[in-house]
Symmetry: C2
């Protein structure tokens, strides 16, 4: 194999053709075999833990020499616990119920034709990701469980770790008799390979970018292949006048501060002008270590609040910072959200069911919540078992995407010789 | 309004913002109002039939002067019957059941959160189409019935007809109290407006091209907005050794010759070498006026068969021409289909249920059929009431796309103050 000397286009075309062939074989493999392949892959991850950690040390040394930030270094780092966590994640995917073969819909036509819509694999899925090497295992496991072949393109800083994890994954699945090309890792760190994947229309069926905004933006800009993309989590929580004060405080502090770096974190709080405990919640946030940037009304409540700029209402901080505004009621809250939301997750806190239902109905976001923390925006918390990402797009899959989002359907028509009149 | 003097980008952005606003209003309108709007639109099409036909005469004169082919002129032509047919089509869409608000899935999490996936409108849909002016009414009706705002961009040769039909449609929907910008027609025939639509990422949620291959190819090449595209209908019918001869003859002649110009027409026939009545079916096709291009074995059966070139196996004739090959059995048939199918519709004719099920399972096409004519590949025949198109892509919607394909879903989460641990 001389993959390293091919043009990126040739390389990706070759890999995609192998993936298509592997996908056809996967489509014929029964579900137990796919589950067994993932269990063996999890075991291989454990067996090769030392190899993986050694490979990771090399990546860490190179990354440190290149001056990566401590945050990036932490994302890159693997140890026995993290490898065990990755193996457990793969086992969890092995235990998810089979998404394939289910009949979505069945109808019998007056002419006797019987039509079924049957769930089938999506095909060949390209995953483009950054520093976290566990994605090599997580994403591959989800793709395979849904009968898809995966082409993985990790970050250059994680190249050795990714290779070691990929070797364990393919060892596991081939031991179960599954095709080795069901999980392929792009062997070059040449950035042109990413471009070739994005242009591989007809060869790759779906691209899933996993990483920061600049990666996702590049993918969306360049891709000719459909993209399942997660842009910002510019989420609001609206505290209605009839919110329970204690519940509102607990929800808001959790929604903002539980983990500030996840996409489900609340970034803007809208307080109804008739809600009585706004100052108390602002104080609780500040006491919890959150910087609050407020509009005029909010700034007047606490001298530790700094004035928000126009930009703040559109900023996903992913940090212990929040923007807060006062609104005159549900209409103004809905208008603010329509103008600034990234259509990821928005929540209302209220004891008024009518106002809540109106909010749930009118807010056009992937996830809308009533009296719950926006931090629940997560495939695991939604009971999906795992997620390949949270889609902020509107087509195919919206919100947390797990196995079902990695499938499509076909129409199966059974007749007895019917001709069309 | 000075739409005609704006840049195409400004024009489309303005229209898309109006569409977004109209879509928000549509999302709040109840279903009966949307149905009523379409009934009034159908009535307005009938009331304005003379205006529409006069506008169409002008288009026809211009088109004749420009030397359009008789086939294109026929597509462009409207008369009282065709306008009545269009009105009936709009009424039919009005009577389809409401696709919105249904709960796709509901789960209760251990922490008490109740999750629902609820069907909602897709948003703003751009339709780019060619000469048939009835698309102005058909596509707008389907978009509106599913709660979406439509931006319509018809062919320049049909500009007067489209304007007249659009005027009737908006008269109808506004009489029901629906927003006028729910159905907008791009006011310029400048081709740059199409490019602006294709690049209107975030403003337009979905582009549906309706037209010939060159239009669809341009749209797929240039689009940054997701596309629901129908490429070729390079469909095969495979006559297995255990096919009933009489059924096979009737199905093959129907699948090829009923209407040769539709995307569900069979373009390649694969005859099992052990099937005894191949020559009879070839003769029946030729007697019905079909030119048969065969491989060596088929050419030897009838001196009216001409030899097929390599190109023939990938050619969607849309005409009374068919390519025919002999295969040694299901494996070779599956290999041929995998290599040449456009993943639209493929059929097997056999009395052997095991072979049939294997074919239905292994052929990776939007529609797979057993003992039925491929000409049934149609939303109406599938009981969908109408179709916006047949998708040969794999994401979001596959095969005939009707109302459900013009919706998405959102996750609605109802809690009682749950915070994430």
């Amino acid at each position: 194999m001389n993959d390293m000397t091919q043009s990126p286009e040739m390389l990706i075309a070759t890999m995609a053709n192998r993936a298509r062939g592997a996908g056809a074989a996967l489509a014929l493999a029964d579900d137990a075999t796919k589950a067994r392949g993932l269990e063996l892959a999890a075991q291989a991850l454990r067996d090769k833990c030392n190899d993986i950690c050694r490979a990771n040390e090399q990546d860490m040394e190179n990354a440190a020499a290149r001056g990566l930030t401590p945050a990036l270094l932490d994302r890159l780092r693997l140890d026995t616990d993290r490898v065990e966590g990755t193996a457990k994640g793969v086992e969890q995917v092995a235990r998810l119920s089979n998404p394939l073969g289910s009949i979505i819909e069945e109808t019998r036509r007056p002419n006797g034709l019987i039509l079924q819509r049957v769930r089938v694999p999506l095909g060949v899925i390209g995953i483009i990701y950054e520093s976290r090497p566990n994605v090599t295992a997580d994403a591959a496991a989800l793709c395979l469980r849904a009968g898809n072949a995966a082409i993985l393109r990790g970050g250059s800083e994680a190249v050795e770790s990714n290779r070691a994890i990929h070797a364990a994954m393919t060892e596991g699945i081939t031991a179960a008799g599954l095709p080795v090309h069901a999980i392929q890792l792009v062997p070059t760190t040449d950035r042109a390979a990413v471009g070739a994947m994005l242009r591989a229309s007809g060869l790759i069926d779906l691209i899933v970018p996993r990483g920061g905004k600049s990666l996702v933006a590049r993918v969306q800009e360049e891709a000719r292949v459909p993209v399942l993309a997660h842009l910002d989590g510019m989420n609001s929580s609206y505290v209605h006048s009839k919110a329970d004060s204690a519940m509102a405080k607990s929800l808001i502090v959790n929604a903002k501060m539980r983990r500030t770096g996840i996409c489900g974190a609340t970034e803007t709080i809208l307080f109804d002008s008739a809600f009585p405990a706004t100052a108390e919640i602002i104080a609780a946030l500040i006491d919890a270590g959150c910087a609050v940037r407020g509009d005029e009304a909010i700034t007047a409540l606490d001298n530790r609040v700094t004035p928000a700029s126009e930009e703040d209402w559109d900023t996903e901080y992913l940090d212990a910072i929040v923007s807060a505004a006062q609104v005159s009621g549900p209409d103004e809250a809905l208008t603010h959200i329509a103008a600034h939301s990234s259509h990821h997750t928005d929540a209302i806190i209220t004891e008024d069911a009518d106002v809540a239902e109106r909010f749930l109905n009118q807010v056009d976001s992937a996830i809308v919540m009533w009296n719950a923390s926006t931090q629940f925006a997560d495939g695991g918390e939604f009971g999906l078992g795992a997620e390949i990402g949270i889609s902020t797009g509107r087509l195919h899959a919206r919100g947390p995407v797990a196995l079902e989002g990695l499938t499509t359907y076909k129409w199966v028509v059974r007749g007895t010789g019917q001709t069309r009149p």
